[in-house]
Amino acid sequence: MEDFEIELKKTFLLEADQLLTDVEQCFLDLEKNPDDPNMIAKIFRLAHNLKGSANGVGFTDVGEFTHHLESLLLLIKNGEIKINQVISDLLLKSTDCIAKMVATLGKDISATFNNRELIEQLELAIKTKGQPALPKEAPKAGPPGFELFDDNDTFQPELPQKPAAPAAPTIEPQSRPTPQAVAGDTKLTSPETNKSTTTQTIDDGIRVSLARVETLIDFVGEIVILQSVLRDQLADATNPSVRHAVNQMGKVTKEVQDLSMSLRMVPVKPVFQKLQRIVRDTSKALAKDITFRMVGAETEIDKTVLEKISDPLVHLIRNSCDHGIEPTADRVKSGKNSAGLVTLSAYRQSSKLVFEVRDDGAGLNPEKLKRIATEKGLIKPGTQMSDKDAMNLIFAPGFSTKDVVTDISGRGVGMDVVKTNIEQLQGQITIESERGKGTSFKIYLPLTLAIIDAMIIKSLNDRYVMPLSQVHETVRMAGAQIKHSSNLGDILLLRGESIPIFNINDLLGKKSATQIQQDAIAIIVRTMEKPYAVVVDDILGRFQVVTKQLGSEFQGLNGVSGCTILGDGRPALTLEIDELVRSYAKAPNHQPKTHLKMAS
């Protein structure tokens, strides 16, 4: 295969990805509004484009398959086939099939496919115009879901606030990022964003590689530094127009910097759409009636954060559908709507982005959670704990309330991985729950990972960056109470707590004086189970720093998570203090210092 052919194919795969996401969204919308002619026409156009492009770049298997899909869609467009449950399932299955082919081709560009079975189903649907005789899939062991559906079933999830469908739906106003008013408000009275807008705003964006954006940000960072040097140098200049120009330049530079940082921001919508599909599939597999509401899909977040929050969100949503929402019969008995409601919101709250997954299900039962944790040996029997602590037990490794491992969730590895993933993003997750009413998970994330709040500390003559997330408090060593212990080293007594002390110079492998300087400061770290103190030679202040990754040559480096460029243009390393302490404590020649004295 020629180089340019490979390029063409790769371009197709990239665009196909986007196209398939759009198509899937359309099918989901179509399921709810089967007679929407605009939607059907749009899908047909997308499929037609897909077929043409696939054939054009030489992906004949994809082209052939899409051709059959297109034939089916044509009949739907002409009104000869009505969308029903079976057709809907078939359409979504076809999209999945194409998506899988695209993914495989991404890894092996010359892969071939055999889609005979699905093509036959499509041909059958075309021939019989979607009527009953379609062969059913052998039901999977376990979920009773499939038996409940007739082929003529017009099963539609209830939309509690479905507006009277006008012929041409207007753009829903709430697709703008919902402001603080949403926080804490559980019952949204505005119409939901479930129905995606058919009169979509034309996308006039362009794809830009993240690497290019990062290079831009690097250069802009340099401009900021140079500009501040210029400004300092010209502070005494008497020429007014020079000073004016430099000041103006400073303002423009700031704008450019903010703008370049914002290039990394993308709307959360694609992830939300993926979750919509998951709710649909999960609720069908569990035979539950679940409505999914999305709020704030246009909210923007850093692209790398979005990629990493996707899996945790999937897990939380699956959890809500599986554990949160009760079986329909139970809901009816307790007087609730037969349809469960799962709401996914994204909104800004001060400097954080909040994702909220809320269900109106059975809520968490602290007693049951305590019982299970005791059974699994995670806590001692009879341990007293508040309801809030009991709820946080679900984040413990190995915890799971389902007795049988279903395909959906329940393997007990989920929630603790979710929590770890969120913490790696410098975020937090909280739970609120009320028995009988429902549960709400809130994930708090920083708006971007590229800028962090940090302290610049000094170790001898070198400066290092310590993320504020690792700093709990700082304590002046002068006047502090220090106990000396022969086997544990030095201990700081703080409000009745005994906290071991480490010297930053030891942690960094440097030779240091055994005496602590009078103006030394200890940083108390509480990120691990037990707190500890790190004595540094000085703290230069609190700054917002632009984080940069170290080169790939430093992949295996311990204790350092990245670097940044300080205001004077020199690089400084960002420390991972937990790692440094852990390796220091493990070192075979580690001798606790027993003669730490205050220099008088």
């Binding site: 960072g221 340099e222 492998g509 080169g551 040559e553 430093f554 992949q555 204790g559 020199r570």
Partner: protein, 157 residues
């Protein structure tokens, strides 16, 4: 060594480490700068001198003299850092002196002799000989691939 289809372009930058001359393909040379202030990296191999800021990019500088186990002489005004790029890796190498650019003919390049000299021969892929001049031609890709050394030093620390 670049398997150049054109006879003409096999240009290499020649520099000195102590008394020995070495060369790297010119195509791998991005920039040559004077030795800057460097920020040290804890628990890194001895030949990793530190990090520097070059127009917004943070670049690692290694001491090629230590990496190739030649004698280390003090840094002078002649010393320089060559910023090399190979295999998507960008690293600066500290050398004592930059001498010239050569464009050897194939006939002037010989295979590395079998003699192991301080284990550095794994980085040398050929010897250029002209009159009395002997230049060891380095495989720049393996020379700047320091990830494995970094990992093992970090683990041992």
């Amino acid at each position: 060594m670049t398997n150049a289809t054109l006879e003409s372009d096999r240009r290499h930058l020649v520099f000195k480490l102590a008394a020995d001359e070495f060369a790297i393909p010119l195509i791998a040379v991005k920039e040559v700068i004077a030795v800057p202030d460097l920020v040290q990296v804890p628990f890194s191999p001895k030949f990793v001198l530190g990090l520097m800021n070059v127009r917004g990019q943070v670049i690692t500088v290694i001491d090629l003299r230590l990496r190739l186990s030649t004698t280390v002489s003090p840094i002078t005004a002649e010393s320089a850092v060559i910023i090399c790029e190979a295999n998507k890796l960008r690293i600066g190498i500290l050398v004592d002196n930059i001498t010239q650019v050569i464009n050897p003919k194939l006939s002037e390049i010989h295979a590395t002799p079998e003699i192991e000299r301080n284990g550095r021969s794994k980085y040398i892929e050929g010897i250029y000989r002209k009159d009395t001049q002997i230049v060891s031609i380095l495989n720049i890709t393996s020379t700047i691939d320091i990830a494995a050394s970094v990992k093992s030093t970090s683990k041992a620390a």
